[in-house]
């Protein structure tokens, strides 16, 4: 590990009587899943590089309740939401960024009715805004000219109409952005949404992530870019199932940008 990550918490900011520019909502996957932790760190490196004053909730963060709500457990969802909103409101949080489209969707769309009103951004939107403001520069580096395809996460794309921010970032890497047969509003699910991540799939001919990976492999990318930790896991598994892991890498957009700058 290169230099140590600077990851201040909201509690630390509060102790100094300061407010960070933005709260980084890490999410359960980003906090605990080994693969997703790499995405979290890559994003933090970019925040550090762009000198963004951010903070995390750390141990005060809890599941947003997304999988509970999608599974039909409105009680558990609302218990989680109300608890989280109490914490967020106590810290007077205004702006939230997250690398998980599920957290993004839930906090942005479903928390307001329960008293949680924040400006919520997906990390690709936030990185794009840093770029537009000249606070971050993106170079192609090792990805220059590489064939990259972007897998739209349902909860970012169709659910919230965010299609361009991640693509803009990939273009900035001077990479060749190629689109799958199903993309943007017709993007095919990775198979993990709606709490499917946490259970076995119903009986069928095929797993959804395999179908999606086949679509990706059809256009022969060198990298499948993801913008969601769950999609990342599903696509990585799909690539392994197809025994293509030596040819195709699955990477989050934050990782692509951080790696391009050798962070």
């Amino acid at each position: 590990m290169s230099e140590l990550l600077k990851v201040p918490t909201m509690a630390e900011f509060m102790a100094e009587g300061k407010q960070p520019e933005v709260l980084f909502w890490v999410g359960c996957a980003g906090s605990f899943d080994d693969r997703a932790k790499k995405i979290t760190k890559a994003f933090v490196k970019l925040l550090n590089k762009a000198k963004v004053e951010f903070a995390v909730l750390g141990t005060e963060e809890s599941c947003t309740g997304d999988p509970a709500k999608r599974a039909g457990n409105e009680f558990l969802f609302q218990m989680q939401a109300v608890t989280n909103i109490e914490v967020l409101n106590a810290y007077e949080v205004k702006k939230i960024v997250t690398a998980c489209p599920h957290c993004f969707n839930t906090i942005k769309n479903e928390y307001p009715e329960l008293g949680g009103n924040y400006e919520v951004m997906h990390h690709t939107q936030f990185l794009k805004s840093l770029l537009d403001d000249g606070r971050l520069t993106i170079e192609g580096g090792q990805f220059k000219g590489k064939r990259i395809t972007f897998h739209d996460p349902c909860y970012l794309g169709r659910a919230n109409n965010v299609y361009e921010a991640p693509r803009d970032l990939i273009r900035k890497l001077e990479a060749e952005l190629v689109e799958m047969k199903n993309c943007k509003r017709t993007g095919l699910c990775c198979g993990a949404g709606g709490a499917q991540m946490f259970k076995d799939a119903e009986k069928g001919d095929k797993e959804v992530n395999v179908e999606r990976t086949e679509q990706a492999l059809e256009i022969q990318p060198e990298i499948i870019a993801a913008g969601c930790p769950f999609c990342n896991t599903m696509m990585t598994d799909g690539v392994k199932t197809k025994e293509k892991e030596s040819d195709v890498a699955v990477m989050d957009i934050a990782e692509l940008i951080a790696n391009a700058q050798d962070l």
């Binding site: 605990f32 999988p67 218990m79 349902c154 095919l188 699910c189 095929k206 959804v208 179908e211 999606r212």
Partner: protein, 437 residues
Amino acid sequence: MEYLPNILFIILLGIGIGFFAKNVKKLIRNIKLGHDVDVSDNKSQRWKNMAMIALGQSKMVRRPIAGFLHIIVYLGFIIINIEVLEIIIDGIFGTHRIALSILPEAVYGFIISTFEVLAILVFVAVTIFWMRRNIIKLARFWKSEMTGWPKNDGNFILYFEMVLMMLFLVMNATDVHFQTLNTGNVISQYIAPWFGNLPEGTVHIIERTAWWLHITGIFIFLNYLYFSKHLHILLAFPNTFYGKLTPKGQFNNLEAVTKEVKMMMDPNIDPFAAPAEGTENAIPAKFGASDVQDLNWVQLLNAYTCTECGRCTSECPANQTGKKLSPRKIMMDTRDRLEEVGKNMDANKGVFKEDGKQLLDNYITREELWACTSCNACVEACPVSIDPLSIIMDMRRYLVMEQSAAPVELNNMMTNIENNGAPWPYNQMDRLNWKNE
């Protein structure tokens, strides 16, 4: 005797419209069996959606071939039906081509020629639609839910339209008076020679027969709507108007649950206190939906609007990978069950008599419900703003909150969230460990 046709026509008109009105009343009653839901917001956006999606067919053309053909049939239907106005006036008053005595010949000719061109275009489009269903056998028209009535219904509509268009052209072609005017008969002039050798009396009888069959056919078609997927030609308009405006990922908030959660979390509230005046109904008898009456009326309107085109199902990732879920079937099941409930009420003086059946299990299986990834592909694909996902979610809510019948792994996930604040069994105190790893 000379008024006999007029009287017959007025009786036909009365029966045609009367039956239709009766069925519309039943339709409205059935839709109102659903919970009330406030959709009075954002009027301007709603009008815009209706104009773009229903009137402007903006989502139909996302599949260009079907979209283009559909626009022909749709425009043809609306424009040619202007002719019905003349037919009705003629029928009531015993006149013949009344508009011709009002409008200049050239204008009348222009209007009728437009109708004739559209009629032939509609005929061609409908024939292609028929071939897509029956010869090319597009996969989405041959799914398991598309057998029996749904399959026949689709074809009946196409036959109906073919016959109606032909009758309209034959009517014009055999109208000797109209043919000799030599204006507007752009298509029918080529059909006219088929009847050239027949005696004039016979030609006249054919003209009258075509006229009567055409208008009778239209009345039959009007009344067929209620029993058919073709109801979408009417309901697409209110359905797109009342369609969801919030982001697709935003699932509705259950107010009743919010009240309970607030109560649980507020130490100052006495949980055993009697509910305040007027709040008795605040807590519903049931969380989620197990039958059609538990859904809201927009969801029921959705079910009646569905035209079974299957665009939702063909985009559904679960369906594409061979799972049982088909969003179209969810909508068809909801309508079928609602119809069953409606018939039950008709047979029992307007009151629903328990029939031991419900939407859940008797129509929609749990396997279907649990196969959904909530990806919104079906919602995005629907050309008339139907939201099958909302029904799936309401039924999952019933399974989880009323029956505790979630799959075991999901119960584990939920226990983890409850205990550790994460869907996995990790300690919340370890949430920031990644920082130093």
